[in-house]
């Protein structure tokens, strides 16, 4: 291995995050040298901000949704030589890099194929009560999530090893991709481990988070999808 973490690629889906993006990307680059930002058709100059940094930029020609942006970033990162570990990371600054680094270390141990962050394993104090209720319900309603013993189905911070990324195809373009990833993992032979993380809930990230209405949309999309096999 050469430099630390040079086999790690951090995928950051970006949609109108100009306010916090530059600091998030710069801080991330300080820990992980390989960052790819997928601009999902932002109209606020987010792409130009990425161009000022050393992060790779992939631009969707039109807005496709966060799930699509994640898949695009993973597909791009997968084609970079030497890429072995893939981190998904939110652009709004809610994830902590210490958590990401710890999760990569778990993946490097070779004991697991996927590491998922959970806001509920640790103290979990950073999660507001209503949000906590919505997320716990989502985790409980998901059969694969229960089977894997996951406590948090909708955390954006994950680490995948290369074989998983080679196999995974996110088809849910919108917010249902989180549930899709959980049901994919539940139906696969990958070894999954949940690791406690904490979240920095700022007003900025809360305004963009998942609402109850969003949850209904997600359930609808997933039910139609599973009927089609």
């Amino acid at each position: 291995m050469g430099l630390a973490n040079d086999d790690v690629w951090v995928v950051i889906p970006v949609f109108n995050e100009a306010g916090v993006l530059e600091s998030v990307v710069r801080e991330t680059l300080a820990v992980f040298p390989n960052v790819v930002c997928v601009d999902d058709g932002s109209g606020d100059g987010s792409a130009d901000i990425v161009l000022r940094t050393r992060a790779h930029l992939v631009r969707h020609p039109v807005n496709l949704g966060q799930g699509a942006a994640l898949q695009t970033g993973l597909s791009y990162a997968r084609n970079r030589p030497g890429a072995a570990y893939f981190v998904t990371f939110d652009a709004d600054g809610q994830h902590r890099l210490e958590d990401a680094a710890a999760m990569v270390a778990v993946a490097r141990s070779g004991e697991v194929d996927v590491v998922v962050g959970s806001r509920f394993l640790g103290s979990g104090r950073s999660v507001p009560p209503l949000k906590r209720l919505v997320l716990r319900t989502a985790a409980l309603l998901s059969p694969s999530g229960r089977r894997l013993g996951l406590t948090d189905a909708h955390n954006g911070l994950r680490v995948f090893t290369r074989p998983v990324v080679d196999d995974l195809r996110i088809t849910m373009n919108g917010m249902a991709h989180a549930s899709e990833i959980v049901s994919y993992l539940g139906g696969s032979r990958w070894r999954v481990r949940e690791v406690p993380v904490s979240i920095r809930y700022t007003e900025y990230s809360q305004a963009k988070g998942q609402s109850l209405v969003n949850g209904v949309t997600i359930l609808f999309d997933l039910s139609v999808r599973s009927r089609r096999g």
Binding site: H56, H60, L64, A68, Y76, P81, G82, A83
Partner: protein
């Protein structure tokens, strides 16, 4: 009666439009058959409304118009689901296309920016 003539005429127009647009191979054969059967039932119901009431009574509905209304609701919802599923397929293709374009462009842009594409995996 004039109304029967008008209704049957409009069903015929729809069938002709569908048949002429039929070159589009994506409409499944089963759906076409279903549509023709639906149109035929429609014409029959227009010509002999009393028969519809007989069927309705048999099913436990009072009036033939009610039965037609209920069937319409079900048909409408089936149509909506079918459109939704169709939309998902189109959406998936469109996503693949956009992704391929985005990645191809990104590879040239990022190498022009001087980001080394091969700065990992060195021995």
């Amino acid at each position: 009666m004039l109304i029967q003539f008008l209704l049957i005429l409009s069903v015929m127009v729809v069938l002709i439009v569908v048949a002429r647009a039929g070159g589009a191979a994506y409409v499944q054969a089963s759906k076409r058959v279903g549509l023709v059967a639906f149109a035929a039932a429609n014409v029959y119901a227009v010509l002999r409304p009393a028969d519809v009431t007989v069927v309705a009574r048999f099913l436990g509905v009072n009036r033939g118009t009610d039965l037609v209304l209920y069937s319409l609701v079900v048909a409408f919802m089936l149509g909506m689901v079918s459109m939704y599923v169709r939309f998902r397929v189109v959406d998936r293709r469109y996503t693949e296309l956009a992704r391929a374009v985005a990645i191809r462009e990104a590879e040239s842009v990022n190498s022009r920016r001087g980001l080394r594409q091969d700065d990992t995996g060195q021995p």
